[in-house]
Amino acid sequence: MDYFDIIRGGAGEGFADSIFKVQDSDGRLLSMRGEVTTQIARMLVSKARNEGRLFYITNCIRFIGTKSMSQREFWQAGAELVGGREVEADAEVIALTLSALESVGIMEASIDVGNVELFRRAAERFGIGELEALKRAVASKSLGDLKKVTTDKRAQETFSYIMMKRGGPEVVMELSQMVGKGVDGYADYFKELFGLLKTYGCADRVRVDLSTLREQMKYYNGTVFEVFLDGLGVPIGGGGRYDAMMKEFGLGDTRATGFAMSVDLCVKALEGEGFNFEGERAPTAILYCDGFRDKAIRLACEMRKKGSICTVEKYNGQSEGIAVGREIVDLKTGKKYVP
């Protein structure tokens, strides 16, 4: 648990609304863990650490609208990379996301990359004050809403390009030409990012989609990404750069990026491919005949040490399992059982 006002400062108002809160004995509000990145950032800052690589697999709880049919408690797995050169750290985290998914058997995931700072600067360039309305229009790919936000033809052209265009780093190059001044350097950044991803061997699974803004988390301030898998209706995870939150917590000039993914959605995806999490490991019944209980318990202890799951009960003449009497017999095969 953390003090609520600290977490609110890092995660932003919108997210703070969805956090479960309890009161400390002195009346101060405490927040339950609604996601992990903010807590890690707060922890690192309190230890004045501006470098490191951390990972977690943990449960979180959050108020969630009933319409999305999600659970309020869910499991997240993620990693944070604090420090390092921006483009190299971004590439490392994106590549790590894909290889982490591969390690549990999810081979087909793909990633879309955007950049919230590039987006903000493009909006600034066209003098669009209503940034939130613009983000909503772009995030829902609604041309009608975009036209309500700005009447400037060039701005409309630019943001509908952002909305609709997906592809390689050339998308950013083309956008830079449309926007002109104010977004210098991003074309080179994306070119380098994709060069690094090629070295990691995953560039063909990553695409640029500049409408990717990860709006649910306000703390992102650079490259952000979302992870997709065919057949799942919602992104399986995502991440991005949050240097601004480190600064908000008091550690200016600290670079930080990371990702989180939903363990529950990973499980769902694997189940969809026929992976069975329940397994066939029904416990083995060890059934003792009169006078042989101690021998049965000793056998069970031995088997458990070797990793078996077993129960000990009195033989009632019907059960299936391993009967322990003068001899130990597997009742299924009728043969003498050698543990």
Binding site: S140, L229, V234
Partner: protein, 209 residues
Amino acid sequence: MRGLIIAIPNKGRLREPVLRLLDSVGLKRIDDDRVYLANTTMEGIQVLSVRAMDIPVYVYNGIADLGITGRDVIAEIGLEVYELADLGFGTCDLVVAVKKESTYRHPADLPQGSKVATEFPTLTRQYFNDIGVQVEIIILRGAVEIAPILGLVEGIVDLSSTGATLEKNGLKPIGRVLSSTARLICNKVSYKTKYDMIERIVENMRGCL
């Protein structure tokens, strides 16, 4: 890769224009009318007929990749989906209406604590919060227009395209909550994983408008 599923309203004012639109882009259903999930003349594309109100839910969860439903419904349900096209038909307003003889000229004239009947509780709450009137919302499932005359509520929030139903039930509109048309919506993941197929359909639809 799985095929593509398009969710459309199983009845109501949008049903016929939607079927005509699908016809004109070459998507004819080949199964019986009562089949909720029907195959079409295009291989791999199925049409799912469900309640207009449920379409954003099917699309958000990725059960359907595309859906056609009203802007009013999308706003009420509030789930995040892509809104790829304004299809232009199905024009109507979500309005606040009261009895014809009432002295209220604007929704803000309704007294604090008034009862309002609607099928759109979320939009109704937002609207009255924004204008600073606290109302008690009564959720009804259809024929909302009769509620004021029977004395159940002071006002209603309901869809109106020509105003005829309001008129016939002794009501007058005094404010607009939003304007709606039919929209083509898309699941956010499907848009990325089935991009080519979806773009083709969207292009065809835009061409038919």
